[in-house]
Structure formats: structure tokens, C-alpha cells
């Protein structure tokens, strides 16, 4: 007989998530890096989508590079060169071409990731970069290892896919499927790391640039405005809603402010004052509610009682 196990009503707030990101989206995964001083520093893990986007951008550059070189060859006045006499020039051009090709295929990722920003142009566009998982310096060896593994993670599945399409039979197909698992490894682990990351001891993290805004909870102004909420009204929401409210207040779009204010008023059963002059503006109302909700949630937080969202049990 199986004893009915009481399902936990409140999922614990995961330690490996942060409750924000630059866009205000709720909860992104975090990679902890223990720095040499012994501090556990949270980094926002780059998502598979971000990494794929960066990869595609980089590949567009890699594909465009030889095309650009060939175009350059036709644009420059090489038709005036007598190739029979200038044999050395032709050789040098060929050597340069081979070297450029070699660089884009093998050296592109390594060269950029060894640079001071530890990111390829594609990664920089998506604000992600490579860091050492052990907390130390990112060494050239780490970068080389993580990029050499690209051969099995990308080129091999590609080749095998080509073979499968050309009628390579079930051997090619099964080999392709197997390597596909290697390529999609970031989807199946907590750190979203690919095989090269594991071997190189590196991780890819998202590093948004965020400026410090004003503190929205202006308790002094709220006291003057005379808006007071009851405990029951405040307990209608949790941390997730507080975050959304903060985002709305920082954006300050009138339409959104009005819509959100109406929804909150309905939910908490708020009655506007009879005197029309005393009715607070939507923004003033929302800021007062934000301050009250934050004060309440933060005081509970100090006691170790956190409320994830409005569906969470009141503690």
C-alpha cells in the first residue's frame, strides 16, 4: 500500500535562480562561480536561444568572409595583372586566401574568445561571454579545448546529415542521431553547457548592462498622500507580482498604468474616495501599493518567510 504523500503546496524558491533579468522577466537560471577569494558570485546563465542566436550570427560572418574576399578580388584591379609574369603575386594571394579560410574555419572562435572581452562578435551582440567555471582566469587552453570540440558538436552532425540525405542508410542515420544528442546537450543540463564547455571547464553567461534606477518605494510621499491599505489587501499578491509592478512603474506608460491600477483595485476591493479631488492618480496609487507590498514582503523575508507569487500560501 502506498501512503498518499502530501504534495508540497509551495514549490521552494530555487536557490539557483535569480528573480529578475534586464528585461524584468521572472527567474532566470544562475551559474555560481566561486571566485578565488571564496565568494560565490551568481552569473545569469545564457539560454540555449541566446547561444544559438550568437552562433548563427557568427556563422553568417564566417560564411560572408570568403564571399567578401572573392568580391574584393574582383573589385580590385587584378585583371591588369599579367598572371604569367607575376607568378609570385598569385602564389601570395593564394596563400593569403588559404590562411584566411583556415582562420575562419578553425581560428575565428578561438581568437575572439581569447581576446579581452572573451566573446565573438555574435556573442557580443547578444551580451553573452565565456567565463572560467573554476573562478580563475580564462586561459587560452580552455578556449582552445572548448572550440576544438565544435568539430564533433557541429561539423560532424552536419556531415552525417549530408550522408544520411544522400542515402547513407541506417548507419549514417543512427550516427547522425547520436551526434545530434551531443549537439543538443545544452538543452539537457542545468548549466546549459555544451560538451566543449564541460571539457574546457568554461561556461557561457549573460551579462546585461543595467543602470541603477531610483528607489520606487517612497514611503514619505505615500504617507502624505494618505493612501492606506489593510493587511488583507496587501496579502493579495506575492514577489512575482511585485516584480511586474516594478517593471510597470519604471516604464511609466499611461495605458499600462491605468490597466494595472484597475486590475489591482478590483482584486483588492479598493474604493476610491468619494471626493473626486482626493482620488489619487493611477501612478500615485500604484506607487503607494508597491511601497506597501514591498514593505510587507521584505519584512516577512527578514524572517525567512517568502511568498513566491499570489498562488503561494500566505506565511
Amino acid at each position: 500500500m502506498v501512503a498518499p504523500r502530501a504534495a508540497p503546496k509551495t514549490p521552494p524558491i530555487l536557490d539557483d535562480t535569480l528573480s529578475f533579468d534586464a528585461q524584468g522577466k521572472y527567474q532566470r537560471r544562475v551559474t555560481y562561480i566561486t571566485t578565488p577569494e571564496g565568494v560565490r558570485l551568481p552569473f545569469i546563465t545564457a539560454t540555449f536561444a541566446e547561444r544559438l542566436g550568437a552562433f548563427i550570427l557568427d556563422y553568417l560572418i564566417i560564411i560572408a568572409a570568403p564571399v567578401a574576399l572573392i568580391l574584393l578580388f574582383f573589385i580590385l584591379p587584378f585583371e591588369q595583372v599579367d598572371w604569367k609574369r607575376a607568378k609570385g603575386l598569385g602564389d601570395i594571394l593564394m596563400i593569403l586566401f588559404f590562411m584566411a579560410m583556415f582562420f575562419v574555419r578553425t581560428g575565428y572562435f578561438m581568437a575572439f574568445e581569447m581576446g579581452p572581452r572573451a566573446a565573438t562578435p555574435g556573442k557580443r551582440v547578444l551580451k553573452i561571454r565565456v567565463i572560467a567555471h573554476d573562478g580563475g582566469h580564462l586561459t587560452p587552453v580552455m578556449v582552445i579545448t572548448r572550440n576544438m570540440l565544435r568539430e564533433v558538436e557541429f561539423y560532424l552532425p552536419l556531415t552525417l546529415m549530408g550522408m544520411t540525405m544522400q542515402g547513407g542508410g541506417w548507419v549514417a542515420l543512427s550516427a547522425f542521431l547520436w551526434t545530434l544528442v551531443l549537439a543538443l546537450l545544452p538543452l539537457f543540463n542545468r548549466d546549459q553547457a555544451r560538451l566543449g564547455d564541460f571539457l574546457g571547464g568554461t561556461r557561457v553567461v549573460h551579462m546585461p548592462r543595467q543602470s541603477l534606477g531610483i528607489d520606487l518605494a517612497d514611503t514619505e510621499a505615500d504617507r502624505r498622500s494618505g493612501i492606506i491599505f489593510t493587511r488583507v489587501q496587501i496579502e493579495a499578491y506575492g514577489e512575482k507580482e511585485l516584480g511586474v509592478l516594478e517593471e510597470v512603474l519604471r516604464e511609466r506608460r499611461p495605458a499600462t498604468l491605468a490597466a494595472v491600477a484597475t486590475r489591482i483595485k478590483t482584486r483588492i476591493g479598493w474604493d476610491d474616495p468619494k471626493n473626486a479631488a482626493d482620488v489619487p492618480t493611477d501612478e500615485a496609487f500604484l506607487r503607494a501599493f508597491y511601497a506597501a507590498l514591498r514593505a510587507h514582503l521584505e519584512s516577512r523575508m527578514l524572517l525567512g518567510k517568502r511568498r513566491k507569487d499570489k498562488h503561494d500560501e500566505v506565511r
Binding site: T35, F198, R250, R294, E298
Partner: protein
């Protein structure tokens, strides 16, 4: 909370007091990091430089504090970004040239090659078996030659070529050879990276790749030997071949090492074993790339300038001796010290 005394200072949340007390330091750190990003390290005064780590540590502690007392997302996001930037500023990828020179070439590279000794022997065995098999197959049945050596790879060195034709391919300063050698260099580097990376798949493809390269070589050796040019061909090959083949064998060994650590991680967890193996094989592979660059230079220039078979053998042998001495002798004592230091720390 119901007292309405207007003289009383504004009611503040704990998180707001915390922010007021620390914000100045965060802003100072942020400005300093902006200056670092612009590469103005020299504009820092001694006091400012000494203050940087203090500010960094205070920002990190602010972050952990903020995460436990504040629900202001903007604040936590800002602090997280600030700490990450500060950490990058201090532990970013700035490898110093001198450190690479002494640390890598003086210790890390030969040391990591020595550590994959058993795999090196396995990889070497694959190559030798391949050479012997290639030779024997062709000796048994001539049609194997064209099957093993593709038309583009053969470059006129086919079954119908006469001894004179073959001899011609061994001469120096042929037109376009420089281009050919750059092509070969990039091709070889890619093959060795591939051989290494394939080690992830249990090492079997690595073995096959090395065997195939050996068979190619064996078949060519057989072709030249048939026309009585074995010594000349061996000389032509050895001037760069000792370096190039050693590099390819090392790449295979690195692949085998990775395969072994993935399949049999030993006392470590598989993840930890992977990181360790990655570090070791990565150092080997960086060296392999350098060796192949050197082999390309020997092939492109050395082989064109040195046409005497004995001299070619001489250069090849000298290179082999240099590599052997380098990999077996350099950095031994230092590496022992390094390990002790490591143990002391852990």
C-alpha cells in the same frame, strides 16, 4: 505605525537604508570599471588601485545582502551586473606573453604530453599498423593503391607513373608548392583537431582516422619502393614528416585520453574527470597546432631549399631528437614543484 508626527524622519525600509549607506561605493566602483574598460589603467593613482579590490569585495557582499533583504529587482540586477563586471575586470582573460612562454612551453606542454604516455603509444601503434597494413595490402593487390590514395591526394603519383615521373615529384622548388604546403598545413591541422575531437565518441573514430592516415602513407611508401625510390621518398617525407606525424600521433593520443577519461573517470565524478582531461588534452592540442605550423614551414621552405636526400634525413632526424628531448626532459623538476604546491593548497 500609526503615529503621524511630521517632525519624525521619513519611515524607511531596511533595504532603502542599506542602499543609502552603500550606493556611493557602488557608483565609485562602476566609474572605475568604466575607466578600466576604456583601457585607462595607467590613469589610476596608487590609492585608487589599492581601493579597487576593497570596492569589489564590498559590492559582492552588498549583492548577497541585497538578495536576502531587498525585493527591488532593479537594485539586485544592477548589483549583479556590477559584481560580474568587477570580477571580469580582475579575472578576465589577460594572459601575459611572458607567462605563456615560460609557463606553457617551459612546463605545461611537455608535462601534459608526458601524462598521456600510454595513449601516445596506442596512437603510435595505430599509425605503424596502418603503414604496415597499407604496404601489405598494396603489395598483395595493386588495385588497393588507388582505393587508398584518392586521385586528388595522389597528384600524379599513381600506378602508371614511371620512376622518372616519381622522382620528379620529390625534387625541390616545384611551382606552387608554397601554396600547396599552406593548404596541407591547414588541412593537417583540421585532421588532427578532428582526430582529437572524435575521441569523445569512445575513441574508435580516432583510431580509424589514424589507421587510415597510416595506410595512406604505407601505400605511398610501397609505390615508391616499387620503383626503387624508397630511400629518396623517405628522405622527402622525413624532413617535415617527423614533426608532422608526431603531431598527428599526439592529436590521436589526446583523443584517446579524452575517451578513456569519459569512459573510466576513476575516483572523480565524470564531470570533474572531463574538466581535467580537457585541460590536459587542450594543452597538448595547442602544441600540436604549433608543431603543424612548424611542419608546414619545413615542408614549404625546407624541402624546396634542401634537395639532397641525406641532408633531408639529417633535418628530419634532428627535429625528431629535439622533440624527443623536449618532451621527455623539459620542465620535469618544475612540474614536480608545481604539483606539490597544488597539493599544499588543496
Amino acid at each position: 505605525m500609526s503615529d503621524e508626527d511630521p517632525a519624525k524622519p521619513a519611515l524607511q525600509l531596511k533595504s532603502q537604508k542599506f542602499r543609502d549607506a552603500r550606493e556611493k561605493d557602488w557608483r565609485t566602483l562602476s566609474r572605475a570599471l568604466d575607466r578600466l574598460d576604456q583601457g585607462k589603467l595607467n590613469s589610476f593613482s596608487t590609492d585608487e588601485l589599492l581601493n579597487l579590490p576593497v570596492l569589489y569585495r564590498s559590492a559582492v557582499s552588498s549583492l548577497s545582502m541585497a538578495r536576502s533583504i531587498s525585493l527591488d529587482r532593479n537594485l539586485i540586477g544592477y548589483l549583479q551586473g556590477l559584481c560580474a563586471r568587477a570580477y571580469m575586470g580582475i579575472y578576465g582573460p589577460h594572459a601575459r606573453f611572458k607567462d605563456i612562454l615560460t609557463g606553457y612551453f617551459g612546463r605545461q606542454w611537455p608535462d601534459s604530453v608526458r601524462r598521456i604516455g600510454p595513449e601516445f603509444l596506442l596512437s603510435l601503434a595505430c599509425l605503424v599498423i596502418g603503414i604496415v597494413a597499407g604496404w601489405l595490402l598494396c603489395a598483395g593487390d595493386q588495385s588497393w593503391y588507388s582505393a587508398l590514395v584518392g586521385e586528388d591526394m595522389a597528384g600524379g603519383r599513381n600506378l602508371s607513373a614511371s620512376a622518372a615521373d616519381l622522382k620528379k615529384t620529390l625534387e625541390g622548388s616545384t611551382d606552387g608548392l608554397a601554396v600547396f604546403s599552406v593548404f596541407l598545413m591547414s588541412h593537417n591541422t583540421q585532421v588532427s583537431i578532428f582526430a582529437f575531437a572524435l575521441g569523445v565518441i569512445a575513441g574508435i573514430p580516432t583510431a580509424l582516422l589514424i589507421l587510415h592516415n597510416g595506410m595512406l602513407l604505407g601505400a605511398m611508401l610501397w609505390l615508391f619502393a616499387r620503383q626503387g625510390l624508397l630511400v629518396d621518398f623517405a628522405g622527402w617525407l622525413s624532413i617535415h614528416g617527423t614533426t608532422e606525424l608526431l603531431a598527428i600521433v599526439l592529436a590521436g593520443a589526446a583523443g584517446f585520453h579524452m575517451a578513456r577519461r569519459i569512459m573510466f573517470p576513476g575516483k572523480l565524478t565524470r564531470k570533474a574527470a572531463l574538466v581535467e582531461a580537457g585541460k590536459l588534452t587542450g594543452s597538448v592540442m595547442l602544441g600540436v597546432a604549433i608543431m603543424l605550423l612548424l611542419a608546414g614551414l619545413l615542408e614549404g621552405f625546407g624541402r624546396q631549399l634542401i634537395t639532397d636526400t641525406a641532408a633531408r634525413f639529417g633535418v628530419g632526424a634532428v627535429m625528431l631528437v629535439i622533440w624527443t628531448v623536449y618532451f621527455t626532459q623539459v620542465g620535469r623538476r618544475i612540474s614536480l614543484k608545481f604539483e606539490e604546491a597544488d597539493h599544499g593548497r588543496s
